[in-house]
Amino acid sequence: MKKNGTKITVFDPIGQPSGIFGRRLDVDSPMFAIHDPVHQPRDTAEKLGALKMAPRLDSLEGKTVYLVNTGFAGGKEFMEEVRDWFTRHRPDVKTELRHKKTSMFTDDPELWAEIKKGGDAVVFGVGG
């Protein structure tokens, strides 16, 4: 045993960054895979680094905004209130309320395609 005051060298216990990230579930992923490193889809830092945000709209006037309930507790009721807010304050904006058919963790390309076709913007809620 080293005496008090003697310096010793120890190892760092922490793992190294891998450049590998987890990703939302594919449509056919089992629900439990969201916390399952074996079945969860993966992304790489290179792939994520290429992601871009979409250009913003000049105005919402006359536009269609999709309101998507992602499925967490209270999401449905909250997004209904968001829809009501638009009705009360921005009647010039058309809203379409949708509830994700897949879980909150799972991709929903069918809905995304619908939004792309019929909408100009989307509000997601409520996470957490």
Partner: protein, 423 residues
Amino acid sequence: MENDYGVPTAPIVTSRFADYVQRDGRSHGMNLRWTFPPYPVGFIPKEILRSYVDGNDPISGVPLMDEVLFALTEPLTDAEKHPTILKRPARPRLLEPDTEANLHRLFLENGWTDGLPIVLPTEERVAEMLTGTDRGPQEYVGMMSVTTHEERLQYTVERVAVNAVMAGARPEHLPVLLALGESGRPSMPSSTTSFASMMMVNGPIRNEIGMNSGLGALSPVNYANSVIGRAWTLMTINLGDVRPGATFTASTGTTINYNNMCFAENEELSIWEPFHVRKGFKRDESVVSLFRGWTVLGFNTGPLQRMLQVMKSLSGPFGGGTFTFVMDPLVPKALKAEGYADPKQLSEYLINELNPRFKRPDMINFLVVGGEMNPMWVTTDFSYFQSVKIDPWIPKSGIKKDAKPLRMPEAVMCKDGSCGISH
């Protein structure tokens, strides 16, 4: 939607998760335009939800819906047009030399422990630990993360050995820990629901390293069970990137995470095939099987119909339907007398009677452990996830053993020479 479909989005996330999602965005190179209402929004009266929508974002102080409109219409900044991923720096192999007291403080204050005292991973101790396998110290073992989206951390044999030393383990335990590391599964995945884990070892290694499969196997009375279970959580903390509040979000947490219900199956007293054999492994292979759920739902005695009655009365946090029974060896003997000599047959019967919404294999599992002091069974809501072979991590010369293997209490063989505990 932003990248793949070119549609501007305004994500709304409750304020309790503001740090979490902002950090997540930065690590993914995309700083989305978040809006944060108060937390929680679930099970809240409609009038209060309306006040949230009409009110301010408590993080920014700005009217919530103004932020939503801003998110959709304000032109992107240069930083938003050209996002960059924040790269985490590589970790050193060794820390700066310091006194023992200061290093203990460093480990505690950095959150590199479970809060209990650790053994400092000195070069000498880690070198000794590495004698527990033939594999090279820098050989890749796996990667792990407790979160869904954050970057995973990867680790070598040496990093696993470091955490093994910290847990108080010895070289003979290292192959089990390397198999756990190979699985890539954290013992406490980040979820607000506070996941718990359970691990069970089958095969010859159980007795070679003195694991307890008999009396009190799930109690803190056996050295190997205690340190192996603890090491999985230290590995999870340090190799799976546990940072409370940042990456780790268990709202209440669970004390099960301290040891992860680590035990060995009592293959000697069970009349059933060992669990790993039922999963396709050979009897003489050493295997660690991993389970995850939330809670131990209670202990019971009694026949099959009592088992079914209990299952029907317990729904679990999310509807249930998944159960892992931990049962004394006397229970399978009683079930056999009832006509269920095969656990697969038993599982099929119970699933059909329970008739859950989703049926999948392995929804009901049976593990045999204990000292035949009481024909009792414990119900858990744990799911079976994976079994990993330990043998590839065992030295060719066999498990490293001391002249007098450490046992707790002192090793005296029980009647079949296998229990790892005696009186």
